[in-house]
């Protein structure tokens, strides 16, 4: 008879009826002898039952209508620019060890709500192709309409900030290179898509990039993948005090 350590990883799938007949028979034979594993199966079933009993707050018909209208506008090419958030694809579903930043969804929303003010994001005629100057280590333009772009390093750390900008930009270039592949890449899946492949001119894609300095690891990118307008490495956290 198999021991508990061998059987334990199968118990959840056994409770769900997801085991093949051979595995299932082995579990049944073990459970007849083992009270502790029988309890684990009961725990799994009970937890599933509780999870299933959760009732999500309902959505009013008017809200579905509002979203449906927004989707139609997008289909007709009249949609507002999007602010897309992403991670590099290698990190998909993985947590990042670095504390990440200060991107307030309210501000993201305000960016969505004010597309008319975003002329700074329009394509710079001097930047023809991404290969000519795919990114810039410069701080964002002072007139940038997004308040998230106004985050700055403290003045007394200006020199350190520029070093970090340079390092961040180098890391950014690498990640942008990776990001031109779908961010939600699944090996062998040709249907993978991601924010970079979906971005259109006027959209803003916010990517997190881990640099050697955890204070500088957000990149903002405006434009589409074929014609990068600008990328900024933005300091993400003010120094304490």
């Amino acid at each position: 008879m198999a021991n508990c350590e061998e059987i334990r990883p199968l118990l959840g799938a056994y409770a769900d009826g997801e085991l093949d007949p051979i595995e299932s028979d082995a579990v049944v034979a073990h459970l007849e002898q083992c009270g502790r594993c029988r309890q684990v199966v009961r725990d799994q079933q009970q937890a599933q039952h509780v999870f299933d009993s959760y009732q999500p707050p309902p959505v009013a018909a008017a809200e579905w209508t509002r979203i449906g209208r927004r989707l139609r506008a997008e289909l007709e090419g009249k949609g507002e620019p999007l602010v897309l958030k992403t991670r590099s694809h290698s990190e998909a579903l993985e947590p990042t060890p670095v504390a990440m930043p200060a991107l307030a969804p309210d501000e993201v929303r305000s960016a969505k709500a004010a597309p008319a003010d975003r002329s700074e994001f329009r394509r710079d005629p001097e930047l023809k192709r991404p290969t000519s100057r795919p990114w810039s280590a410069s701080p964002p333009p002072a007139a940038a309409p997004l308040s998230i772009l106004r985050t700055r390093a403290p003045r007394h750390h200006a020199r350190r900030a520029w070093v970090a900008h340079a390092l961040g930009a180098a890391a950014a270039a690498f990640v942008i290179f990776l990001a031109l592949a779908p961010a939600w890449f699944v090996p062998g899946n040709e249907e993978a898509i991601g924010p970079i492949t979906l971005a259109r001119p006027q959209d803003v894609v916010i990517m997190d990039v881990q640099t050697t300095d955890p204070d500088y690891n957000v990149v903002l990118y405006a434009g589409d993948a074929a014609d990068v307008a600008a990328i900024w490495v933005v300091p993400i956290r003010q120094d304490q005090g």
């Binding site: 959760y54 707050p57 309902p58 990440m100 991107l103 040709e190 979906l198």
Partner: protein
């Protein structure tokens, strides 16, 4: 016995018709048909919302995620070749969009706490409707809180299994992981849920 076979055959045929209908809708969406978009949205919005809500924890955020996911669908539909079912593809988009969204939200919370470790963002009690408040409110709140404290990878697997009844194989396709990993993530998610809700469910 014969009756059972006939029923099973009918169910298969109904399933095939349904798959064909969905494939037609996707094809029409690819051609820019607004009615096909409406139909796909109507069919899948509740499921997308259910997944997003359990991953981001807030109702309004979940609706944002649903909207963003369907925009991704429209923009990416040219890349969809029917290798997986439309719903598997959609759920993959919703899951990733929700986890991205949740992460930004959590980071914002971390920043507002000046870098202290941030708790998972729990659902906003103000967003709950009166109907929900009436129905065993304490357990519902406890479940919401517990869900927020299960790791996002484990939670994503459990949510996909529980909400839409995806098989382990389908969940593996959605998340891009092996069936064995799906097995352990769902197992771990439920063990954790049981621990967190020990006082409520005994």
């Amino acid at each position: 016995m014969v009756g059972g076979q006939r029923q099973s055959g009918d169910a298969d045929r109904a399933q095939e018709r349904e798959a064909q209908r969905e494939a037609d809708l996707v094809e029409r969406l690819r051609g820019g048909d607004a009615r096909a978009l409406d139909e796909l949205f109507r069919r899948h919005r509740e499921a997308a919302y259910g997944i997003a809500l359990r991953l981001v924890g807030r109702r309004d955020d979940a609706l944002d995620v649903v909207q963003e996911s369907f925009i991704h669908v429209m923009r990416g539909v040219h890349a969809f070749r029917g290798q997986s079912s439309f719903r598997t593809w959609l759920y993959r988009i919703v899951t990733h969009a929700a986890l991205d969204y949740r992460r930004w939200r959590a980071l914002r919370t971390a920043d507002s706490l000046n870098g202290e470790s941030a708790p998972d963002p729990g659902p906003d009690p103000n967003q709950r409707s009166p109907q929900d408040e009436a129905s065993d409110r304490d357990l519902q709140a406890a479940i919401e809180k517990a869900l927020a404290n299960i790791s996002e990878k484990n939670r994503a697997a459990l949510v996909l299994f529980a909400i839409e009844g995806l098989s382990y194989k389908e969940i593996a396709d959605v998340l891009g992981i092996s069936v064995g990993t799906v097995m352990s993530r769902i197992f771990n998610a439920r063990q954790r849920l049981k621990e967190l809700l020990a006082s409520e469910i005994g």
